[in-house]
Amino acid sequence: MKLPTDLVRMYKEIHGWVGIISGLALFVAFYAGAVTMFETPLQRWASPPPALASAPSLQRTPELVAKALAAHPEAAKGYEIHLKIDSANPARMSWTSARGEEAEHGGGVKHYASLAPDGTLQVATGGPSEVAQFIDVLHQQVGLPFPHEIAMPIMGAIALLYTIALVSGLVVLLPSLVSDLFALRIGKNVKRMWLDVHNVLGLFSLPFHIIMALTAVVFAFHDQFYGAQGMVFGGQERAGRAAMSAAAPPRQSLSPVQLVQRVKAQAPGFTPEVLVYGQGRGGLPSLRVQGSDARHGMRAPTYGMAGIDPETGAITATDYMPGMQDGWSATITSFFALHFGNFGGNAIRWSYFLLGLAGAFLFYTGNLLWVESRRKKERKAGAVEQTRATKILGALTVGVPLGCIAGISLTLAAAKLLGASASYGLHSAIYYAVFLGATAWALSRGAARSGAELTLFAALSMLAIPVSSLLAGSRWFDTASLVLVDTAALALAAMLFLAARTAKKRARQGPRDSVWSHREEGPQPV
């Protein structure tokens, strides 16, 4: 396809700049996002064996609820009955004590209740590991340790740069599309090879990237978008938010067993997982069922939901119920589902995992190319030494991605080694210590030396995941399929070991003026 050369040249420059500004943040977002595809299994993998007595049967659940509400009246405002019990959902009943802002973002202290063999109430605070949630937030905030309301607009700006990068990258590639598309020139010219890899990855995952960019813009700015619409077009935001007020627990409600039967009869194919009891307007009982249905996309990352009449068990609100939505709701849900990859079961989750890793790699190769072209430009201008800016960017290109990989691996491994004492804050501290340490190491040692060293470090960190499993023992595996977590970590560790070897070789034998070159016998810079 023929395009004016000035247009292509302009977009090439724009592509380089928006790419280098957003590339490292996008790497963290995509790597953490790929890991988040398995948030639920990771949470089970990382959660210690429950300390409570095993959950009472669903038939005995009304007894548990009555005892828990008698001892903890504040739980009547809202509690959950878990239909699926595993190490991530270790109790039949749970509730959260949180107020206002905290509750909006899923904060607060979570309580879990069970019945001891003699029928007495047991309540524990805290339980399942929060490491998977930490990685999810890291993904949402493109790796920034700021409060939500500061990090989200920055993420939105990155997402806008990312759309510009996609459009400009496509414009640059179009003229040579036919000749370059299936050419993967692996050979002497390493830059050519990286460019080919970058182009192939970018073009073939373009639909995935367009989805991610446009949905991320909405996730960042939906409050502003709604606010602007409200300001200009009037109207109220919601039909009135459900008021939370303390009142007696719902009476005449069907029992959980009956409710599950009624839901299954009305929605075959839908697997109910959680019953969420709350209080709607005027203290009236409200009830919601959360669950999954692999045949449909879902509104939340891991579940869809429906409003239930607690007295009859009839499904009353279907806006977010997989398979029962009207056209508009289903369309909106499809936007969320396309971002979350929560349709079609495990095949789609693995595909999204691989696409996410490929995306992270795309940004990494983009950064490599930028550093490499800077070197060529500077050479032409007569500089023999790399400039400071190129050196710093080269170091960051190595330190940030590898720091992110190592940080996530080590904070995951820590979940098993620290057990019940591993809090959200501790996981965050471990991640950022490793991440900042790796970045500082790269800056002080330079891209060439730290490239090989940090890749080795990332490989060893990855290896810490299966090692922590071995140390913690089989009690932590509440299902055998969780071994897949350790297997995937082993495979990634092996790839990182290979990469470390190649990086070392290149530092010794590659072109001497490259940022990747480090030769012991070379002349010392004056």
Partner: protein, 97 residues
């Protein structure tokens, strides 16, 4: 007039894309609300769709605004596009669809 395109005037063009692109996106959302008959609560599913519409319009304006020959042209043409869409949204029947 056929001065070659260049990335030198990126700031003027991209600020036009950022600001007028946003108002254009808001206009597109308003247009959709009018056509689809979104009522009082814009958090209805159609209202949500109108909000989602803003993301592609804004992001694409920002991505393609560099193709204008100059900063002045970017601001002019995007202003004209804004006028056109807002005229349809606001003029007949007031701002409340």
């Amino acid at each position: 007039m056929n001065k070659p395109l260049s990335s030198k005037d990126w700031f003027g063009k991209s600020s036009a894309g950022l600001i007028l692109g946003f108002t254009l996106a808001l206009g597109a959302a308003g247009l959709f609300q009018r056509l689809a008959g979104v009522g009082d609560t814009f958090f209805s599913t159609k209202g949500q769709f109108a909000m989602w519409l803003m993301s592609p319009v804004w992001a694409m304006t920002l991505s393609f605004c560099f193709m204008f020959r100059s900063t002045a042209r970017a601001w002019c043409w995007l202003a004209v596009a804004n006028l056109a869409i807002w005229a349809i949204v606001l003029l007949p029947g007031g701002s409340h669809p």
